[in-house]
């Protein structure tokens, strides 16, 4: 896509892109290249000497049970965050799309969690489930369900999933609502005339037509669960109990900055980079398809 009319200058465009290029080069490409290089070397703890070791760091990762466990944790975590987050937000969006009166008020009351910092979301949920005085944990105990996210891995996982979903609801809600509003009314009306009730209309018309939005949000939510939830995990569970909520990003941080295993951390970074690239490619191939459709 080109403009028909353009300006001519040999030096001005370079000057204009210089700031962006400087930031990208210095803080994106150079560090990414460093990560690739470091993942193939072994450094001592003080960073004074390094030695080229080829694939050794990756082989060690592959044999490291805690790394494979972290993969599994991340998979479970992101699957839960994506499915729960998408179902709840889709439900709310369908409801909000139905009402005429007060639609804007509901929208306003549902979008503000977008502004909440992940760490704040984590602390809010931690407070509700904190023993002994947390309101929800108290209620659960009264029902005969003792809650202990400090010792019980499932409870810890449930807690971080709830905090992560809560924060992401408004984002999903807005996209679902926009998607619902772009579905032609005539289709729904035709189905209603043919005698299809609201539930039938939802599953046979609305849901299939919404699938591009759903797919887009699925990718976004997986990326969110992979990367943006670091603060929630760090504030609520510190990856515990044991390493049961240590997702991949948490482990990169922990191994690189706490355990000082630079080569191992860099190798993990490279694996993560591959995952992001794969997700981005999937997303953009899909967007191209959507354009043709």
């Amino acid at each position: 896509m080109d403009k028909r009319v353009q300006f001519r200058s040999a030096w001005l465009p370079w000057l204009l892109i210089a700031p962006q290029m400087a930031v990208i080069g210095l803080f994106f490409f150079w560090p990414a290249a460093q990560a690739l290089y470091q993942s193939l070397t072994l450094q001592d703890a003080f960073g004074t000497s390094s030695e080229f070791v080829g694939w050794l760091n990756f082989e060690r990762l592959w044999e490291d049970a805690s790394y494979l466990a972290s993969f599994k944790t991340t998979a479970v975590f992101s699957l839960l965050v994506a499915t729960l987050g998408l179902s709840v937000s889709l439900g709310l969006a369908v409801l909000a799309n139905r009402v005429v009166r007060g639609a804007l008020v509901y929208k306003t009351l549902l979008i503000w969690p977008y502004a909440v910092a992940p760490v704040a979301a984590g602390v809010l949920w931690l407070f509700m489930f904190n023993s002994p005085m947390g309101v929800v944990s108290f209620g659960l105990r009264a029902l005969g369900l003792p809650w202990d996210h400090l010792l019980n891995a499932d409870h810890a996982m449930a807690l971080v999933v709830m905090a992560a979903v809560w924060k992401q609801i408004s984002y999903n809600f807005l996209f679902f609502l926009a998607g619902l509003q772009s579905i032609p009314k005539s289709l729904i009306e035709a189905a209603a005339i043919d005698g299809a009730g609201p539930v039938r209309r939802f599953w046979t018309i609305v849901f299939p037509l919404l699938s591009p939005t759903t797919f887009f949000l699925l990718v976004i939510n997986v990326v969110y669960a992979f990367f943006d939830t670091f603060a929630i995990i760090d504030a609520v569970t510190h990856g515990g109990p044991g390493k049961d909520t240590a997702i991949l990003v948490y482990k990169v941080y922990y191994d690189g900055f706490k355990a000082m295993d630079l080569g191992g951390s860099a190798a993990q970074s490279v694996v993560l980079m591959a995952i992001v690239i794969a997700l981005t490619v999937v997303q953009f191939r899909f967007i191209e398809k959507k354009v043709q459709y």
């Binding site: 353009q6 892109i17 470091q38 407070f127 108290f138 941080y253 860099a266 981005t280």
Partner: protein
């Protein structure tokens, strides 16, 4: 609405209200906790559901710092709010500024390697801070930027999303405007300043909301590059309150958390129209 079903409409409203309340409940609870004394919270089983009378004391303590009931010292939150505000503004405005310039160059000039430049910006989407934390930290440390505003903000200022959104927008600006500007003898920068910038007000406002929140809520990056308390943004302040010490004064923690949530929430709700547009347009 396709047909009238009063019962269904009523249920819809009830479910929506329930949804709104469930979403708001954690924040309501935090507000309640921030108005009680720490001992009330610690001894209550469960927590009171109605606000107490100590809100002012708690917020004063949270903002200005001091010694809590349990004897633990609290740092003042006010300067942290200042750091957060300054860095969120630098990040948001910086991103918009450098993206405006590069989108202008990519759309309005033909120069060698233009496609390459475009792709280089595009690829940064695939390199979030999290996948290159170690080496990026190294670069910032080598430049002596730890504990500075430059270190907190500049590495986050490159923005593929902002560049794309503005590029898309510039492509929709009629060519006749360029021709008219040229006939009137305006150079490229004059055109940029007097024609393009005023036209871009809406996308810029939309980007501002999204990037301000992005900047305000940064966590991992400040955690790495700040060690000096005077450079902590407020999100790190929250984390520090619940880490370390065995005993937590929840009333103060909740007051600080609410203070940290307030400015971005005000921005989102106050600029709702642009925010929704920006979010859906950038698909960010």
């Amino acid at each position: 609405m396709v047909e009238r079903r009063p019962a269904l409409t009523l249920i819809t409203h009830l479910l929506l209200l329930l949804g709104v309340m469930v979403v708001a409940f954690p924040v309501y609870l935090a507000w309640v906790a921030s108005t009680h004394t720490a001992s009330t919270i610690a001894q209550s089983m469960p927590l009171p559901l109605w606000p107490g009378a100590h809100g002012l004391d708690n917020y004063a303590l949270a903002l200005l710092g001091g010694v809590g009931e349990s004897g633990s010292r609290y740092p003042a939150t006010l300067p942290m709010l200042g750091v957060s505000l300054a860095s969120a503004l630098i990040i948001a405005l910086g991103k918009i500024a450098i993206s405006l310039l590069s989108a202008f160059a990519i759309v309005y000039f033909r120069f060698p390697m233009r496609q390459l430049v475009f792709w280089m910006v595009f690829v940064t989407l695939m390199l979030p801070v999290e996948v290159r934390i170690g080496p990026t930290y190294q670069v910032v440390a080598d430049l002596g930027l730890l504990n500075t505003y430059a270190g907190l903000t500049v590495p986050l200022i490159a923005s593929a999303t902002a560049t794309f959104l503005l590029r898309q927008f510039f492509l929709t600006v009629p060519d006749e405007l360029v021709e008219a500007a040229r006939i009137d003898g305006a150079g490229p920068m004059r055109f940029f300043r007097d024609v393009l910038l005023p036209l871009s007000a809406t996308p810029m406002a939309a980007l501002f909301v999204i990037q301000f929140i992005y900047g305000w809520n940064q966590y991992l990056w400040p955690l790495l590059v700040t060690t000096d308390e005077s450079m902590y943004p407020i999100v790190l302040g929250i984390k520090r309150l619940i880490a370390g010490e065995v005993y937590t004064d929840w009333n103060i923690v909740m007051a600080v958390t609410l203070l940290a949530m307030l400015p971005p929430a005000v921005v989102v709700i106050g600029m709702q129209k642009w925010f929704v547009k920006g979010l859906v347009d950038t698909e960010k």
